[in-house]
């Protein structure tokens, strides 16, 4: 493993023999909270559904079949591609990508602003950024719905100053979902970019200006490449949870904004659910995310190996 440092050689105190036992908590953590749940999900996705929720231990590909193929109402027609779920996935991907982009556009200047304040002021600004997290996400999302609904404060005040005559239909739109995702995940963009910008050596910008680069060129050629790890981390931290988000799409969106998170969530609720299908959808989502991340990591190593 690249991240593991070798212990100092030959101090002869049996220190190296302790490495194994000391790593046990780590392996237990990874095993219990990462490997086991994913394995469980993988196994469930190949089982047969029980009608009141739960599974029957019978191996089948039915869940994946249901996801990708349409065999007609009674399952006896020749299979065609089932677009329902692919459409939901596709919608989720672009919703998450758009939310990531908006968070980046707003988050980068915010992080830059905070990182360039005096050290004491930085702590205050960071604290302000994290304050919304003191309130539960569900409550925040519901409050957002109250704010933007037809007779909510936003529409009421816009109407009272005569800017609009009818309330803006905000709830149950893509815009509302975007607003919810943006509001939920913006700090995940701000914090890693802040960490990168805070470490940024501003003498590099001076050096670029000294070598005839304009401010815009300096940003593009020097600043962005140097703080890129922070930007990438922020984008991953916003994109991945946005992709699986279900609170914002559920509460702020409507049928037309149905996303993967809600689809999976539904499969595990009450007697309507279909556990193997939910597990399969979760596995497909995870595979998708992994492919994107691995493609990125690969491009990254190729770029570094120049």
């Amino acid at each position: 493993m690249a991240g593991m440092t070798r212990p100092p050689q030959g101090n002869g105190t049996g220190y190296r023999g302790l490495i194994g036992p000391l790593l046990i908590p780590t392996w237990v953590m990874i095993g219990v909270f990462l490997v086991l749940p994913v394995l469980l999900m993988a196994v469930y996705s190949f089982l047969t559904k029980e009608f009141r929720g739960g599974v029957i231990w019978d191996f089948t590909l039915a869940a994946y079949d249901q996801f990708f193929l349409n065999r007609g109402l009674f399952g006896d027609e020749p299979p065609t591609i089932e677009w329902t779920y692919i459409t939901i996935f596709w919608r989720s991907i672009w919703q998450a990508a758009l939310a990531t982009l908006i968070c980046l556009i707003v988050g980068f200047p915010t992080a830059w602003f905070i990182a360039t304040r005096p050290p004491k002021a930085r702590a205050v600004w960071l604290f302000l950024v994290t304050i919304p997290y003191w309130v539960n996400l569900l409550i925040r999302t519901v409050s957002l719905k109250f704010l933007i609904r037809d007779n909510g404060p936003l529409n009421e005040s816009l109407m009272s100053i005569g800017l609009i005559t009818d309330p803006l239909p905000l709830v149950n739109t893509n815009l509302a979902v975007q607003l919810g995702l943006f509001y939920s995940y913006l700090p995940f963009m701000v914090l890693p970019i802040y960490a990168a910008v805070e470490r940024y050596n501003f003498a590099l910008s001076e050096a670029a200006a000294d070598l005839y680069a304009s401010r815009w060129t300096t940003l593009r050629e020097i600043v962005l490449p140097v703080v890129k790890p922070g930007i990438v981390a922020g984008c991953i931290l916003v994109f991945v949870p946005s992709l699986g988000a279900f609170l914002a799409p559920d509460l702020l969106g409507g049928a037309k904004t149905f996303m993967i998170g809600s689809l999976i969530d539904e499969q595990f609720r009450g007697s309507q659910g279909n556990w193997p299908f939910g597990a399969a959808a979760a596995m497909i989502l995870m595979t998708l995310v992994l492919i994107v991340l691995m493609a990125y990591a690969r491009a990254q190593t190729k770029g570094d190996a120049r």
């Binding site: 003498a203 590099l204 001076e206 050096a207 670029a208 200006a209 070598l211 005839y212 140097v226 120049r306």
Partner: protein, 351 residues
């Protein structure tokens, strides 16, 4: 010789604090000019004003006649070698060196060729494809130098570029820098707090303190004819003793040394009254009869030299350096010695 940089009454204030109190300097084309002073004296601020990283509060900075004080740094034809090099970490050595040329719109082929020649000049051709993090401090320093010289600036600014290197490398780089300056014919403005660096490389030196230029001159000028206490004390080792100027006649001052002996010294801008006299420790000898009388307190053996720590009859500390030779008689601590000043050894200061 034409003037490369003409600094006219430059004032720099940060809020209520003043970093530069009306600095005026004229730096000739093709000159190796050094700004020397302790930290906080304003030398780096002045350099940053020339580069354009700081706005001047008042005054003008003229580059070959053109006032550049209000220009953005990217519009000034001067380049900087930064103290910590500030190499672009995501670019190869060659890309770093070619960056300024790229920004000036030089084509890829031309800038690669020119950057290659610059790397040859600083003996780093073999490292063109490395990243800065894969180089040693001395190599990074040379890349920074090549990068700043590649766009052929009219003036090169160097902000304590040798301070991060170890002693051996620093000494080698001094020679290399001086050679480079002579070969390229570019005006160098070099900032340092290290007087040895300043004395060995510079054509002229401006000694700065507390936001003011204290003295400008050649290494010899400022070492041998310091104008005031700050310069005398900052450059090399010196003995400062308080004396009274009795009278001034035709540019010469008659003064009484501690112990009663009277001598005459050149009086530049001084008036009668209390003044300080600077006497370099190596510009005097032990004699049977002398200008000063002192008691030896300690003898420090330095190899090439002997350092005598003595005390004058008035109680002031007085240092003497004697060249170590077979003939040198070493006075024992506690003995009283007479000191003979060499011709011109005593320098009357303005304060």
């Amino acid at each position: 010789m034409s003037t490369a940089i003409d600094i006219r009454s430059v004032v720099k204030r940060y809020g209520t604090a003043t970093a530069l109190h009306g600095v005026s300097l004229s730096i000739s084309d093709n000159e190796f000019f050094t700004l020397l002073g302790p930290s906080g004296c304003g030398k780096t601020t002045l350099l940053r004003c020339i580069a354009g990283f700081e706005d001047v509060t008042e005054g003008e900075i003229r580059l070959f006649g053109q006032n550049i004080a209000q220009l953005e740094p990217n519009h000034r034809p001067v380049n900087t070698v930064f103290q910590q090099y500030a190499l672009f970490p995501h670019m190869t050595v060659l890309e770093n060196v070619a960056f300024g040329l790229k920004m000036k719109g030089v084509s890829l082929t031309d800038r690669t060729a020119r950057a290659g020649r610059m790397l040859e000049m600083v003996h780093l051709s073999a490292f063109a494809d490395r990243l800065p993090s894969q180089l040693s401090g001395g190599q990074q320093q040379r890349v920074a130098l090549a990068r700043a010289l590649a766009p052929e600036p009219k003036v090169l600014l160097l902000d304590e570029p040798l301070s991060a290197l170890d002693l051996k490398l620093r000494q080698a780089m001094r020679v290399e820098l001086k050679t480079l300056q002579e070969e390229t014919g570019i005006t160098f403005i070099f900032v340092t707090h290290d007087q040895e660096e300043a004395l060995t490389m510079s054509d002229r030196i401006a000694v700065m303190s507390q936001g003011r230029v204290q003295q400008v001159g050649t290494a010899r000028d400022i070492y041998e004819s310091p104008l005031n206490r700050f310069v005398a004390d900052f450059i090399g080792e010196t003995n400062l003793i308080e004396v009274t100027v009795d009278r001034i006649e035709a540019g010469t001052a008659r003064i009484t040394l501690p112990g009663g002996h009277a001598i005459t010294v050149p009086a530049a801008h001084t008036t009668p009254g209390k003044h300080h006299l600077s006497i370099r420790p190596e510009r005097l000898s032990l004699a049977a009869q002398g200008d000063l009388t002192a008691t030896v307190e300690r003898v420090v053996y330095l190899g090439t030299d002997l350092q005598l720590l003595t005390r004058l009859t008035t109680g002031e500390e007085f240092h003497i350096r004697l060249q170590n030779s077979a003939r040198t008689e070493i006075p024992a601590p506690g003995t009283t010695v007479a000191l003979q000043l060499e011709e011109g050894a005593a320098r009357l200061l303005a304060d």
